[in-house]
Symmetry: C2
Subunit: 141 residues, 2 copies
């Protein structure tokens, strides 16, 4: 019988998340997500997965084709007793290619098994130097 | 002297947010944001604004050119004693044009003046029917 992992802090859960991605280990990745809460994951493609089964299938598709490593730097943390939100900048290493930057919001909740990931919202950052009005027109039209 | 608004629930703050957008009222919009916390706003263009001054300037640029109405539907709510996170789908009405859908994560914190918005992360939803691998290639290359 496997013992559920217990993450003592949101940071521990976050480290486990990125380690699981680097090892393309889908089971380890899913062990970071909450089993008690509605979970939600928005990929930088705009795909939105709700529920553990959909989140698992979404990440299976991401991890399947090639080994990926995510370099993540936390910009802001909001920490409560039972909820925490982190905002990060990610760069992806896919073999010798580098992609990003991506902007990420992670939300964690503390439950019976410590801190677990409940919500991940990831989107591409703006090209530097592009005026907001110009890029807004591109998004909306 | 103006009395600070007090939002009794995150939902009240959210209603005030969308009403302020519909009225192009930048002061009313900014009154929804927390003055006590680091605030952060990611627009669907990928622009990232941190701090009240940057968030205000970002929204000034969005609200200036034309009257906009946002139709928002909440998909998921996670509610704690002092923090709450909502995920919504937005459609934008710009005159007779309709844009979206957009995917939004809002995070609220309860402080001395009730519930205030602390973090908004907004990005464009995937075109329906596009396989994830195809759209991931478009994002990364």
């Amino acid at each position: 019988m496997s013992v559920p992992l217990l993450f003592a802090t949101p940071e521990d859960a976050e480290i486990a998340f990125y380690e699981a991605v680097a090892r393309s280990n889908l089971d380890a990745l899913m062990a970071v997500w909450s089993e008690d809460e509605d979970v939600s994951c928005i990929h930088p493609t705009g795909q939105h997965m709700q529920g553990l089964a959909a989140v698992r299938e979404g990440w299976r598709q991401v991890l399947a084709p090639a080994r990926m490593q995510i370099e993540a730097n936390c910009m802001t943390r909001w920490q409560g007793m039972l909820m925490a939100v982190h905002q990060l900048v990610e760069h992806l290493h896919l073999g010798r290619e580098l992609a990003g930057p991506l902007l990420v919001t992670h939300m964690y909740i503390r439950g019976a098994h410590g801190w677990r990931l409940v919500c991940r919202h990831c989107s591409t950052a703006a090209e530097p130097g592009m005026p907001q009005q110009e890029s807004l027109r591109r998004v909306l039209h």
